[in-house]
């Protein structure tokens, strides 16, 4: 008689484990009950397993005769009871039936690794052998053993058809999560569900389970409100902000930055509402300054305006999900941007304060250098500015400034709203070497870009240009303060960038300190 491997220590002659299964009647199914009139054959099966089906089909017709001879049979399914009953009926199984729900306690108690497994429980409830898989000869031997206990000869399955066939893995032998995933053909149900519900910006998101959101909140008050998020006016409770942060893929350490950015964006002075619904391609640029940059791994070096760094990407994304989900500003619906831009997936930039020749943005705006601060600016997508050959700070400043001449609109001059220049380290070095302060550079750039009104009167232009004398000098920007200067980027390469403004909605630049927690 072939035995299943005994690695788990089941010994013939040992007591059969008690059964925790669901039978069709109100009475419990017990080993004592099954073995009251003689030995019992427990046939562990699973509905999805073809070899189990084979076993039930081949053994089923023999059950009535076995029962008359004193051998009780029961098919114990690793399935719900009603599935067990229907499957048994369909396969012509004439013995008893029982079902198991996860985690399949009976299968575990019998240390199954395979279904089907036939276990003979002899007199006194003692184990008398088992056969794993379909093995006609081993089963015949097992039935021989049962017959011996009954002092009779029991019918055995015929030798027609396959004599042996391997079984399938018992669900009990699998890791519970793996078993559940195997039972559901679509293992990515939860990720697809996020798409199904529209909890996404078009890319996969991390499902915001209660545990993940709780971890993101880190003990903060879930019900604290940051205000209403336009345009739908959904309330930005910290719980919802945390949900957006989880969806975006943030780590809990990023949450204070996300919260500060959300607070800044919801400041009425920022006019998030206008930006969220406009036909302009407005995104919310988030600039991070201070020690938090290094604490959470924000990138301010090579690729500073591109992908590759979790903190940058997920923080920007969390804030945008707050706007598009909680705030309802979905593209094609309340978000009416004609073309939009990829910055609306999220745009979080850290300044290279260490490499910059100048005071960083937050210090300019009145914060201490050691404070961690988030600044939000409504802005367009970056336009690259190449300059590899300028030899003087004046020439470089001229090139940088004129790159922005068509920002927003070719001739709509002057612009009140900010243009954000991201100066790369090699360009910044030129100004450092020449001893130029930020203010000097800003003033030079402001003065550099102007045209006579007459040259601006083609296509879209401002009323001021129309009203001015043709030779009146019109600057690109209404004031030097409209020029925002940041330093970031890789140390090699002479590409800076400028981000044009979001215009016509009176949006102010807003800064918020990042809370520090002990």
């Amino acid at each position: 008689m072939r035995q299943a491997p005994r690695a788990n220590g089941d010994r013939d002659g040992g007591p059969a484990a008690e059964l925790a299964v669901q039978g069709p009647g109100p009475a419990a199914v017990t080993i004592a009950g099954l073995t009251a009139g003689g030995p019992a054959l427990l046939v562990f099966v699973s509905e999805h397993c073809p070899t189990s089906a084979l076993a039930l089909r081949r053994l089923g017709p023999l059950c009535p005769a076995w029962a008359r001879a004193g051998l009780t049979t029961i098919a114990i399914f690793e399935d719900p009871l009603d599935v067990a009953i229907r499957t048994a009926r369909r396969l012509g199984w004439a013995g008893q039936v029982a079902g198991q729900d996860p985690p399949y306690p009976a299968s575990r108690a019998y240390r199954l690794s395979t279904v089907p497994t036939a276990v003979l429980v002899g007199r006194g409830g003692l184990l008398a052998g088992r056969v794993a898989g379909w093995d006609q000869r081993a089963l015949a031997a097992l039935l021989g053993e049962a017959g011996t206990q009954l002092d009779t000869e029991l019918a055995v399955p015929s030798a027609a058809g396959p004599l042996t066939k391997p079984g399938c893995s018992s669900k009990a032998a699998l890791d519970p999560e793996l078993a559940a995933a195997m039972s559901a053909p679509d293992g990515t149900d939860d990720l697809e569900e996020m798409f199904e519900r529209g909890w996404t910006d078009g890319l996969p998101v991390i499902p915001p389970t209660a545990e993940r959101v709780e971890a993101m909140l880190g003990g903060r008050d879930a019900d604290e409100s940051l205000g209403l998020v336009p345009p739908a006016m959904g309330e930005a409770t910290l719980a919802r902000v945390a949900a957006c942060a989880v969806l975006a893929g943030c780590r809990p350490a990023y949450f204070p930055v996300v919260a500060a950015a959300a607070r800044a964006a919801l400041d009425p002075a920022f006019n998030l509402h206008g930006q969220a619904v406009t036909t302009q391609p407005a995104g919310q640029l988030i600039v991070v300054n201070g020690p938090v940059r290094e604490e959470i791994g924000l990138n301010s070096g090579m690729g500073a305006l591109g992908p590759g760094f979790r903190a940058n990407l997920t923080i920007g994304r969390a804030v945008r999900l707050l706007v598009s989900l909680t705030g309802g500003a979905m593209p094609g619906a309340m978000d009416r941007a004609t073309l939009g831009q990829m910055g609306k997936l999220g745009f979080c930039v850290a300044e290279d304060e260490e490499g910059s020749p100048w005071e960083p943005l937050h210090v300019e705006r009145g914060f201490a250098a050691g404070q961690s601060v988030v600044t939000v600016i409504g802005s367009d997508a970056p336009q690259s500015i190449s300059d590899h050959r300028s030899r003087t700070p004046e020439d470089l400043a001229y090139v940088l400034a004129w790159a922005a001449a068509s920002a927003w609109s070719t001739n709509w001059w002057p612009l009140e709203e900010p243009s954000v220049f991201v100066i790369c380290p090699e360009h910044a070095e030129m100004f450092r070497g020449a001893g130029w302060t930020k203010q000097r550079l800003r003033r030079f750039m402001f003065d550099a870009v102007h045209k006579p009104a007459g040259e601006l009167r083609r296509g879209e232009t401002t009323p001021a240009v129309h009203a001015a004398a043709p030779d009146a000098v019109v600057p690109k920007w209404a004031a030097p303060e409209a020029i925002v200067l940041l330093v970031a980027g890789g140390e090699a390469g002479r590409y800076s960038a400028v981000l044009g403004p979001c215009t016509g909605m009176g949006s102010q630049i807003v800064s918020r300190e990042v809370e520090s927690r002990a």
Binding site: P26, E193, E196, R197, G198
Partner: protein, 76 residues
């Protein structure tokens, strides 16, 4: 509930049948899933130990609600 909402989104009218204790949970779930109008018809609890005839009677009793949920024809 999820299944019903997924089907409705694809233009398939769907109704669930559940025992009465499920009602609060179903309403909350429907709202959470963004489709508060999703329909579930209820039969009394419990069902496990009903005879075949009793179970069939439950189905008969809830059938008008099922029709009302799936069609525009008035109930009754």
């Amino acid at each position: 509930m999820c299944d019903l909402v997924h089907l409705e989104r694809r233009g398939i009218p769907a109704v669930g049948i559940a025992t009465a204790p499920f009602a609060d949970e179903a309403v909350a779930q429907a709202r959470l899933l963004g489709m508060p109008g999703t329909t579930v018809a209820y039969i009394p609890h419990p069902v496990q130990l009903l005879s075949a005839a009793e179970l069939a009677a439950r189905a008969d009793a809830v059938f008008p609600s099922v029709l009302a949920a799936l069609t525009t024809r008035p109930a009754g």
